[in-house]
């Protein structure tokens, strides 16, 4: 088990946003999270990513409890989350965003040897490698043409894709995506689907929230559904989507 | 000893209301325009000089002189908003430096007109109240009462009126506020002018308690900024509370320790409070 979440609970004042949630993620799978608005999906991922601290419960990453780590420590362990509301570095261009996202790669590659780059500059080989990688990811995410534009000039969909691209550059073992497809058009969703499948084939584990049931239903091997902060269904995605309580609380009508 | 402490506690409250009235201006302008108007100290100084001029030189009754001073200072405030602050909205550092530049200009003006010679107003309300061995000058009590009334009035106006609601909304998201039909530019101008008027009032009443010089503003605006931060920016009653806390800590600190460290007592308090509540005492934690 790559990630094991046990009886995770998060309270905000009197409101229990996540209540006793437990699930596990195996290496290499894609897991989907469904649930009505305000059911605690984002909160759950934020807890895993260290952005929020759980009220109780444990989060085991490869067997170690990570529930008290800061977001950057979690990211360094190989768990990276994207944001539901696109987050950017204002003023910077798309490619500059990507260079910042290479932080973890450089850190892994050079370690303490980074100090040497203060005098000698970055090793040429590494620099070239990173630029290649950036171009590759930008192409995959269809952002190449906007490479040198200010990120603030992207359309909403573009901003979301930039988030995914940055997440990919962190080279996570587990990538947590919060509604990557919302705001994307059909074409872009198809592309996203391909990108994510490709990631999976390269051994990256994915945990995805989305309300685009068609998209995520096709993509996810397994799913869980939350309602009022609690897991109401889990298992094979098609089974979860067919679950009566899920239909009643979330889908409204049976999904094709 | 208890008399000494209680006396200074009360004096701290009184001094604190003066910090509070300027702090209120700081808090409102910062909250709404994103600018820390350091020049509020200079506006206060202008208010003090205008009051002195109207009262001692022209010979108006004191209340009329103060009202006149408030009007004069508001006009200065309006003009400086039109000419300067309008262009620095939302930019903390630029606004800060523009206001510092204005301090220089105002000080130079007053210096040229009235020289460095301190002015001491003819006493408006001499004498003191004596209660249980504690002596409080009448004028200080009266001034503190006016400040309290003005701050509470502002609080009521902001929490109970649409203008106040619009102000809070604007402070958070200017574009969305425009989409709600809030006339943002006008609102900001109102706030800038109102806070300068508060500073003018502060200066006008200040002049009845202390002697005035062209440099009086700078010390007070620093205190006011500390008070606003201590309280949490955006909180009206907090500005008052922050001012009073500063006033008390300075006075009581000076009694028990060396008065040479007077300014440090408030600062240490400020640091401690922000460590416990990073958003300020009355602000929200974020």
């Amino acid at each position: 088990m790559l990630l094991d979440v046990k009886s995770l609970t998060k309270r905000f004042g009197g409101l229990t946003a996540v209540s006793n949630v437990a699930f596990g993620i195996e290496r290499g799978e894609i897991i989907g999270i469904f649930g009505p608005n305000g059911s605690g999906k984002t909160t759950t991922l934020s807890l895993i990513a260290g952005i929020l601290k759980p009220t109780s419960g444990v989060i085991l990453w490869k067997g170690n409890d990570i529930s008290n780590l800061s977001p950057f420590e979690v990211a360094q362990q190989g768990l990276v989350k994207t944001f539901q509301n696109p987050q950017l570095f204002p003023e910077l261009t798309v490619v500059e965003h990507m260079r910042i996202a290479c932080h973890l790669h450089i850190k892994r590659e050079l370690g303490i040897g980074r100090l040497r780059t203060l005098i000698g500059g970055m090793p040429v080989g590494l620099d070239r490698l990173l630029e290649q990688k950036i171009d590759q990811v930008l192409a995959l995410c269809r952002l190449s043409s906007q490479r040198n534009e200010h990120a603030a000039a992207l359309s909403y969909g573009g901003e979301k894709m930039l988030g995914v691209a940055m997440g990919m550059l962190c080279e996570p073992e587990l990538l947590l995506l919060d509604e990557p497809a919302s705001g994307l058009g059909h074409d872009e969703i198809a592309n996203l689907d391909a990108v994510l499948r490709d990631l999976k084939s390269h051994g990256v584990t994915l945990c995805i929230i989305d309300h685009k049931v068609g998209f995520l239903g096709r993509l996810a091997d397994r799913s869980i559904a939350l309602h009022h902060g609690a897991v109401i269904a889990s298992g094979k995605t098609s089974d979860v989507l067919a679950d009566e309580s899920v239909v009643a609380a979330y889908l409204g009508k049976k999904h094709a | 000893m208890t008399q000494l402490v209680i006396g200074q506690l009360l004096n701290g409250v009184i001094v604190g209301t003066l910090y509070g009235i300027i702090a209120l201006g700081v808090t409102l302008t910062f909250g709404l325009t994103g600018v820390v108007n350091f020049a509020l100290g200079a506006f206060m100084m202008l208010g003090a000089y205008a009051t002195w001029y109207l009262y001692d030189v022209v010979g108006f009754p004191y209340p009329v002189a103060v009202i006149g001073a408030v009007v004069v200072v508001s006009i200065f405030g309006y003009v400086s908003d039109l000419a300067l602050f309008r262009f620095t909205r939302g930019n903390l550092v630029n606004g800060l430096l523009v206001s510092i530049g204005m301090i220089s200009v105002f000080e130079a003006l007053v210096l040229a007109a009235f020289t460095t010679t301190p002015k001491d107003l003819t006493y408006v309300l001499p004498g003191a109240l004596k209660v249980a061995g504690i002596v409080l000058p009448k004028i200080k009590v009266a001034v503190a009462a006016v400040f309290l009334a003005v701050i509470l009035g502002t609080y009521l106006a902001l929490t109970r009126t649409w203008l106040g609601r619009a102000a809070f909304a604007y402070a958070q998201n200017p574009e969305a506020a425009a989409l709600m039909g809030i006339r943002t530019g006008r609102l900001q101008t109102i706030v800038v002018v109102y806070s300068t008027a508060l500073a003018g009032l502060g200066g006008g009443l200040y002049a009845s308690m202390y002697s005035i010089e062209p440099t009086i503003g700078s010390a007070y605006v620093l205190k006011a900024v500390e008070a606003a931060i201590l309280a949490g920016v955006g909180s009206v009653l907090g500005a008052l509370g922050g001012g009073i806390i500063l006033g008390i800590s300075e006075n009581i600190g000076s009694v028990f320790f060396s008065s040479a460290f007077r300014d440090a007592y408030g600062l240490v308090f400020l640091i401690l409070i922000l460590l416990v509540r990073p958003g300020g005492l009355f602000g929200d934690r974020s």
Partner: protein, 367 residues
């Protein structure tokens, strides 16, 4: 036409500007007067004065640059600085230029530098608290006569305040008077807390310093809140006493000259005040350190007289010798003692409840 340059290096703006600003005005009045009369003759040549006034803002660093510039421009006579920290900063540069110019300094710390090697340039225009001809000792004696046992000193925490506390601590100790000291931050306006604290120590008299700006506040707050009504001071004017005349008990001040009185009896004082009013088109600030403007005024004239006596405008050694040997009769009678410290008379003014003024003149130049 020939000119003699006079420099003046003072704080003209900023929180410490009060004295420097007034000094600058006094020399300006003198220079304009002299030039208006067509200058002055030394030998068979006529010279006019050129006054270069710079504003140090009270910042030592600024002063060092400005002072260097004056030295480069071969200014032979420099008035100022009044501020102790500024004097300390320019002293090393002045030492390097020893023999090339004269400095008419006012700073208290200049007292200690008088007569040291490399300090031939130094003259001190105001006999302040310290020194044999200083008034500090006389003032303390005056207090002693009033049976004072304990004094509370309340001074601004700056270079001068610290110097004053050092000087007076020693003087009070010698006189067997107990001393309580509190320092306040520059810019303080509310003295309530510190006054209350001092009052708790039950001093006989309060010794506040040192400019009118704080005196008005201290005297008012102290009397209004009942912290004390007896004052003793060595700077500032009697304005605060007169304003609170019914609230004070005693108010004893060193005043180089009681201008309100002198104006009526001394024509030279009258003339100076008129000239000042004409020059600056404003009221004469009686309660604003008139000693600074008037003494600078006198010293400019004294310097001119010395140049005429010495028969040169640029041999500073000769001019210094002339200054040291002469007695100038202006608003004051001024002499220099052998170290280069100016000696001139002053008044002790004692204001009593109700505003009665008693004036005790001292004239050390007579001894």
């Amino acid at each position: 036409e020939d000119v003699v340059k006079i420099g003046q290096i003072e704080a003209l703006t900023g929180a410490t500007a009060t004295y420097g600003w007034m000094s600058a005005q006094g020399s300006k009045v003198a220079v304009e007067e002299i030039n208006a009369k067509g200058g002055f003759k030394v030998g068979d040549r006529t010279y006019k004065l050129e006054l270069q006034q710079v504003d140090t803002r009270g910042e030592p660093r600024e002063a060092t640059v400005q002072f260097r510039k004056m030295m480069e421009e071969k200014v032979h006579f420099v008035f100022g600085p009044f501020l102790t920290n500024v004097f300390n900063a320019i002293e090393p540069i002045a030492n390097q230029n020893n023999g090339k110019f004269l400095l008419f300094a006012g700073a208290t710390s200049a007292h200690a530098a008088l007569g040291k090697p490399d300090h031939d340039y130094l003259l001190r225009t105001w006999n302040w608290d310290a020194g044999s001809a200083g008034f500090g000792k006389l003032m303390v004696d005056y207090l002693k006569k009033l049976n004072t046992r304990k004094v509370a000193m309340l001074f601004q925490n700056d270079a001068f305040g610290k110097t004053a506390v050092d000087i007076y601590s020693a003087l009070f100790k010698d006189a067997g008077i107990e001393l309580q000291v509190e320092l306040f931050e520059p810019g303080t306006k509310d003295f309530s807390a510190v006054l209350a604290k001092l009052a708790a120590g039950k001093p006989d008299i309060l010794f506040p310093g040192y400019s009118d700006a704080v005196l008005y506040d201290i005297v008012r707050q102290s009397t209004e809140s009942g912290f004390g009504n007896r004052f003793f001071l060595v700077r500032g004017s009697i304005g605060p006493a007169l304003k609170n005349k019914d609230a004070i008990e005693d108010y004893i001040a060193y005043v180089p000259k009681y201008f309100e009185g002198a104006e009526k009896t001394e024509p030279k004082v009258r003339a100076f005040i008129e000239s000042y009013q004409k020059q600056f088109k404003r009221e004469f600030p009686y309660d604003q350190a008139p000693l600074c403007s008037s003494s600078c005024y006198d010293h400019v004239y004294m310097l001119v007289e010395a140049m005429q006596k010495a028969g040169t405008v640029d041999d500073v050694a000769k001019i210094r010798a002339a200054l040291m040997s002469m007695t100038y009769e202006g608003m004051w009678r001024i002499k220099y003692d052998k170290t280069g410290e100016a000696v001139f008379g002053f008044d002790v003014v004692h204001v009593r409840k109700g505003g009665a003024i008693e004036r005790v003149p001292y004239d050390p130049t007579k001894e």
